[in-house]
């Protein structure tokens, strides 16, 4: 049985705003299924005495002091923006398809 269904891939595509064609959904569903299957193998070797980890390094509490440091100028910050208006990033209509 597949670890991930075609419907789930379609759902994820919608959440990610990816317009996938029918054949692409099939294509990615198969690929994602393989990936999820590979990752699932970890659980075969996971044992009670091995805590789950989300990081490769055995470190905790890496913080920075609360100090203000210079960032980018507005020009620098906006230099890569596809569209700018009033020193702000201009983005396409957000709720366009439903308004």
């Amino acid at each position: 049985m597949s670890a991930i269904t075609r419907d789930e891939v379609a759902h994820l595509a919608r959440l990610s705003r990816l317009a996938l064609a029918d054949d692409e959904l099939d294509h990615f569903a198969a690929q994602l299924d393989q990936i999820v299957g590979a990752v699932a193998r970890v659980s075969e070797v996971a044992a009670e005495d091995i805590p789950p980890s989300s990081h490769a390094l055995p470190l905790t509490n890496v913080f920075r002091p609360d100090e203000v440091r210079p960032g980018l100028s507005p020009e620098g910050a906006l230099s890569g923006a596809p569209a700018v208006e009033e020193d702000r990033f201009r983005v396409p209509r957000i709720l366009g398809e439903e308004a």
Binding site: T60, N61, F63, E67, R69, G71, R93, I94, L95
Partner: protein, 502 residues
């Protein structure tokens, strides 16, 4: 928009249904720098002047957690009687929306820093314990402005423009457990909770908690169940509730709206609703775009947080006196009734009275001026008491002038009026307006002689033993001196001149 809701009168709604509340409060921490980068957090800067590769999510940038923000969150948890996690992680909350340039918000999911606390609030003289489910740390989003369309709302807008100055400011979310059994006091309990929470934050010094600037924001969850039922109804979540009064109104409005739907056999849709300050009602903010499918997972760019229990214990030991404890202490020191204390609390006058007492005024006088004349003036001006252009020091000075006999209450009110009008300190106003009580016996005596001559009838009555008639004569003296005479001394002198034993 076809969203004009039918409402059921509040009393009827409460006869038929029982409300269950849940409150989610977001508090922007008052750190100097952002949560995961060194950008400034100053409010009101020109757009996109407090941004860097980290908070703009430029490729290759990595977040590092702000130690002060972690500490502040733990202190908030301790003040709310929570357990502090010994090990926890940040999580990615994925959603596609331009207010976070990363397309995810760094938040906490199943491992919050603080859990299972409570906050006691006082409503109608009763203590209500509001249980806290969790306190967690996340980052604030950027600010979008919607352009085009009629109302500046996201619906119908042509496009939006985004300022990321706010993106990445540390944000603490405080979530209550479902609050049951409040019955008809539900709106007041909600307001009292947010009020008390705001004061706790203020006492900790972790945030400026200015609702009008958005550094404290509240989402209000409300559901109703029929009387006698034990099964909770479907809840709605009302956002955009930006003042304490609005918290109360939003709960009330949502109870009235849901009751009307349920009474007609309708169903409540689980949705986000928006509060409207002008009408006190909510409208549907529902959108498929807001489908809550956040695909949380542990944030791989940040390391786990493992607060050292000794550090947590030292933070706990160093917590300041909490507001409810402080109010109890001040009430005893000032010797005021529960009712008077509650009135001062509601009027946000406690800090002002305390500062006035610290500046040397007796507590009774400090309370009298702030809760009387000054409250009246603040009300007239439509401003908060604390925003009146007068300091506790000024008020203390006025009480001192009254105590020394240099002013009576009537003149003192004129002095306060002068200070509020920007005429200077109390001493300067007294000087400029010539407001000192006439204590020169010669001057007072001359005024009295004139008044006695002008009011021969009344003077005769007093001479004939009708001492009550002296009031009219004292009134005449006060009028002739334009309020500046010492009324008590004037009365003595009048009786003396008329040869009557007081």
């Amino acid at each position: 928009m076809a969203d004009t809701a039918t409402l059921m009168p509040y009393d009827e709604a409460l006869e038929r249904f029982e409300p269950v509340l849940g409150l989610e409060t977001h508090v922007e921490l008052g750190t100097g720098s952002k949560m995961f980068c060194g950008c400034s957090t100053t409010f009101g800067a020109p757009p996109n002047t407090q941004v860097c590769p980290v908070c703009l999510a430029l490729p290759g940038s990595l977040p590092v957690a702000n130690e002060k923000a972690i500490e502040s969150t733990i202190r908030i948890g301790l003040a709310l009687n929570c357990s502090i996690a010994t090990w926890c992680r940040f999580a990615r909350k994925n959603y596609f929306y331009p207010d976070m340039p990363k397309n995810y918000q760094i938040s906490q999911y199943d491992e919050p820093l603080c859990t299972d606390g409570y906050l006691d609030v006082e409503v109608d003289g009763k203590i209500v314990r509001v249980e806290i489910e969790r306190v967690h740390l996340e980052e604030d989003t950027g600010k979008s402005t919607h352009v085009g369309g009629a109302t500046g709302r996201i619906h119908g807008a042509d496009y939006s423009i985004v300022d990321y100055n706010r993106a990445g400011i540390p944000l603490v979310e405080i979530v209550t457990k479902p609050i049951t059994g409040t019955d008809r006091l539900a709106p007041e309990v909600a307001k009292a909770y947010v009020t008390e929470l705001r004061e706790v934050m203020r006492s900790l010094g972790v945030s400026d908690v200015r609702m009008e600037q958005g550094s404290l924001r509240c989402d209000v969850n409300v559901s109703l169940m029929p009387r006698g039922s034990t099964e909770w109804g479907t809840r709605t979540e009302t956002k955009n509730v930006n003042s304490l009064r609005s918290v109360e109104r939003a709960v009330r409005g949502e109870i009235e709206r849901q009751a009307a739907i349920l009474a007609e056999g309708g169903r409540i849709v689980q949705e986000t609703r928006h509060f409207h300050e002008d009408t006190g009602q909510t409208t549907s903010g529902r959108s498929k775009e807001e489908a809550q499918d956040y695909r949380y997972f542990p944030e791989p760019d940040l390391l786990p947080i493992a607060p050292d229990p000794e550090w947590v214990a030292s933070l706990k030991a160093a917590l300041p006196e909490l507001p409810s404890v402080r109010r109890k202490r001040l009430q005893q020191e000032w010797g005021v009734s529960d009712l008077d204390m509650a009135a001062m609390h509601n009027a946000d006058a406690i800090d002002l009275v305390e500062a006035t007492v610290a500046a040397g005024a007796p507590a009774g006088d400090a309370r009298k001026w702030w809760m009387g004349e000054l409250a009246r003036r603040a009300n007239e001006a439509g401003t908060a008491l604390a925003d009146l252009p007068i300091t506790p020091g000024d008020v203390a000075k006025v009480t001192e002038l009254v105590a020394s006999g240099a002013l009576n209450d009537k003149l003192a009110r004129q002095v306060l009026e002068g200070v509020l009008a920007g005429e200077g300190t109390p001493d300067e106003v007294v000087e400029k307006r010539g407001l000192r009580i006439v204590s020169d016996e010669g001057e007072l005596s001359a005024i009295i002689d004139q008044v006695l001559a002008d009011n021969a009838d009344a003077a005769d009555k007093v001479r004939g033993g009708k001492i009550a008639a002296v009031g009219a004569l004292v009134g005449g003296v006060m009028k002739a001196s334009r309020g500046k005479a010492d009324a008590g001394r004037a009365r003595e002198l009048i009786l003396e001149k008329l040869g009557v034993q007081p």
